[in-house]
């Protein structure tokens, strides 16, 4: 209800600027004071810590692969389709390779391409979205039409078709993914830019004669940081998953080691049908864990920056404490009124 939101928002606005006197007119300087406080809250949020630790762990595994699993992961080491044992922690593949080594080394390409795709997709989306949102008019019409078309054409078929004509490998995958998947981000950034453009502080800058570049980079962009960060996380998540999908279909370089190609070989060698579950379970679990971690961090960020979500948590906590959940009417919890002094 409007009243609750207003009161909670008011009250939280007070907590975040404790040392300043109540400003009379509020020149909107939104981002400046928040980051430090928000960062602290971020670090204390369970989901964020969980997600970041997992991401960090995998990154370290990728970097230190030669230390953790020394040797060539593609080397033939034992009989094929051996179950997990002391020598081969995750067993062997249908071609006699060590699954553990492959999974560890596969982290490099899978994460590397994933993060790169996330970065590029966010970048392209940002450039196109902000241009469309800021300049409006014809520029916006054309860019929006392009964006919507790219958005509506189904991703995987397009990716597969394009990739089929190009030499297979992680670079191809990275390029193809980046050039086809920016549309969602572009939409999001465009609408945010549009709404920010209408705000007073932008009008103030325009009136004082600042150039478009200045306004875009120094005024609008800083206010989109949480959105950009969220977009980067989602795009990386998408990049890792889509990459795995393409590789599974055989479009990656199947002689290189990544989680997706691992799954390709598992499928191809009918590892499923010989009972060798260890050939595909670890890689999939890794993908899922990384994806889940990214989603958690994203959700945590959303919780922190969105006052409504914070209020929801409070509400949920209060509801848990009282037992009145099923009724929607205002609960009556009579307390001894503090006697008038």
């Amino acid at each position: 209800m409007a009243l609750n939101d207003q009161m909670i928002e008011n009250e939280q606005a007070e907590t975040s600027t404790p040392k300043q006197p109540t400003p009379v007119a509020t020149p909107t300087a939104p981002a400046a004071k928040r980051p430090l406080g928000a960062f602290g809250r971020f670090m204390r949020n369970g989901k964020a810590v969980f997600g970041l630790s997992i991401l960090l762990a995998f990154t370290l595994v990728g970097i230190f692969a030669p230390v953790i699993a020394p040797g060539n992961p593609s080397a033939f080491v034992a009989r094929p389709n051996q179950p997990p044992s002391r020598e081969h922690w995750f067993g062997t593949t249908g071609q006699g390779q060590d699954v553990f080594k492959q999974t560890v080394w596969g982290t490099r390409i899978s994460l590397g391409v994933g993060f790169a795709v996330g970065f590029l997709v966010t970048l392209f989306g940002l450039v196109i979205g902000m241009t469309a949102g800021y300049f409006g008019g014809r520029v916006d019409d054309i860019l929006s039409l392009i964006t919507n078309i790219v958005l509506v054409i189904p991703g995987l078929p397009l990716l597969v078709t394009i990739a089929a004509f190009l030499p297979p490998g992680p670079i191809t995958i990275m390029l193809v993914l980046s050039f086809t998947s920016w549309a969602w981000n572009a939409r999001v950034f465009r609408s945010q830019t549009l709404s920010l453009r209408e705000k007073d502080f932008v009008s103030a800058s325009l009136v004082s004669g600042e150039s478009s570049a200045y306004i875009i980079f120094r005024e609008i962009l800083p206010n989109m940081t949480s959105l950009v960060a969220a977009a980067y996380l989602s795009s990386t998540l998408y990049g890792i998953g889509a990459q795995a999908g393409l590789e599974f279909l055989g479009l990656g370089n199947v002689s290189l080691v990544s989680w997706g190609t691992l799954l390709y070989w598992a499928g191809n060698n009918a590892g499923l049908l010989t009972g060798a579950w260890w050939t595909f379970v670890p890689a999939g679990l890794c993908i899922a864990l990384v994806a889940f971690a990214l989603a958690m961090v994203n959700y945590a960020m959303d919780e922190i920056t969105n006052p409504r979500l914070r209020a929801e948590k409070e509400t949920a906590r209060v509801l848990k404490e009282s037992s009145l959940r099923n009724s929607r009417a205002t609960p009556v919890i009579r307390q001894a009124t503090p006697s008038a002094e």
Binding site: L3, N4, V318, S327, A329, E341
Partner: protein, 313 residues
């Protein structure tokens, strides 16, 4: 209706916000009781609390609300559901937001009726048409969607819905704030006509004091969750006692008469998690004394029908 010692808290991470503290007042049949105060003074909270429409984290922490002899705060869900709309209805602040955008206006009137009375579809529709006519809208518009009506018409529709079951009392929470001045007048006149015709009482909530003085029989002034003054409107207008009321009266420029310096009230509304001790107005009062900061003033009758909660009297 009689409200006695009503208290409402909002639970927040910083602690409970004491939005309404020990408020008592009553509304006699057929009268218009105006509740005035700044934003955040608690008046809207009271309106919603009476009908138990507040949602967590709001909690009613004390008091009773008597209507026809029953305490609304003691009712269970079924009794509440029956009571709502049949005996008391409410008109929210923003008519556009009060109407379901995907249902026709007619259906929204009809489902209020059929939730309480067994009528055939045709009979319900006829009553809905009658109600629209009553508020001055062409009954043909029963099939219209809310977005197809103008702001003033939407407000009338909401009033029509409120009248659907001929309630004894209507709560009106800032019914005209979102409208322009001309339409405001029309709506209020309409409401007044309907009231005379149908005899319901009104709890009228607004921050616009000038509007209220014309319209209400009695007025209660709220500050920081408490009622600080209560009197018949003419009396309040001519003889405001509480410094806050005085301040409010002075902040309205009059169209006629000599040019007077416009004074506001210095300071800002208090933090409701930790409101000022004693009299909650004391930080902003020009006549504050030591005792005022320690002892909470009680609402006392100074002259017949005129109540004030202030140590100066």
């Amino acid at each position: 209706m009689s409200v006695r010692n009503l208290s409402v808290n909002y639970l927040t991470p910083r602690g409970p916000v004491r939005a309404v503290e020990n408020v008592s007042f009553s509304v006699a049949p057929g009268e218009v009781f105006g509740l005035a105060g700044e934003s955040g003074s608690g008046k809207s909270t009271i309106a919603h609390a009476i009908m138990r429409l507040l949602h967590p984290p709001a909690v009613i922490t004390g008091g009773e609300v008597y209507f026809n002899g029953e305490d609304l705060l003691d009712m269970d869900d079924d009794e509440l559901r029956q009571f709502r709309w049949r005996d008391m209805s409410i008109v929210f602040q923003s008519a556009m937001n009060s109407l379901n955008p995907v249902m026709t206006v007619g259906d929204q009137i009809i489902d209020a009726i059929t939730a309480h009375i067994k009528l055939s579809r045709k009979e319900a529709r006829d009553r809905a048409a009658f109600l629209l006519d009553l508020v001055g809208i062409d009954p043909q518009r029963l099939n219209a969607y809310p977005h197809q009506l103008s702001g003033g018409m939407r407000q009338r529709v909401v009033i029509a819905i409120a009248l659907a079951l001929n309630p004894q009392m209507m709560i009106m929470d800032e019914p005209t704030t979102a409208l322009d001045v001309v339409v405001q007048r029309e709506i209020l006149q309409q409401i007044e006509e309907l009231r005379e015709k149908m005899g319901f009482s009104i709890l009228f909530i607004t921050h616009d004091l000038s509007l209220m003085v014309e319209f209400s029989t009695r007025i209660g002034i709220m500050y920081a969750g408490e009622i600080v003054e209560m009197a018949p409107s003419a009396e309040l207008f001519s003889n405001p006692l509480h410094p806050y009321t005085r301040g409010l009266m002075n902040s309205f420029p009059s169209l006629t008469g000599p040019k007077v310096k416009l004074t506001g009230i210095p300071g800002a509304p208090p933090d409701m998690v930790a409101p000022p001790s004693g009299c909650r107005f004391h930080p902003r009062c020009s006549q504050v004394q030591q005792m005022h900061t320690e002892v909470v003033p009680r609402l006392r009758e100074i002259s017949p029908g005129h109540f004030v909660a202030c140590h100066l009297y």
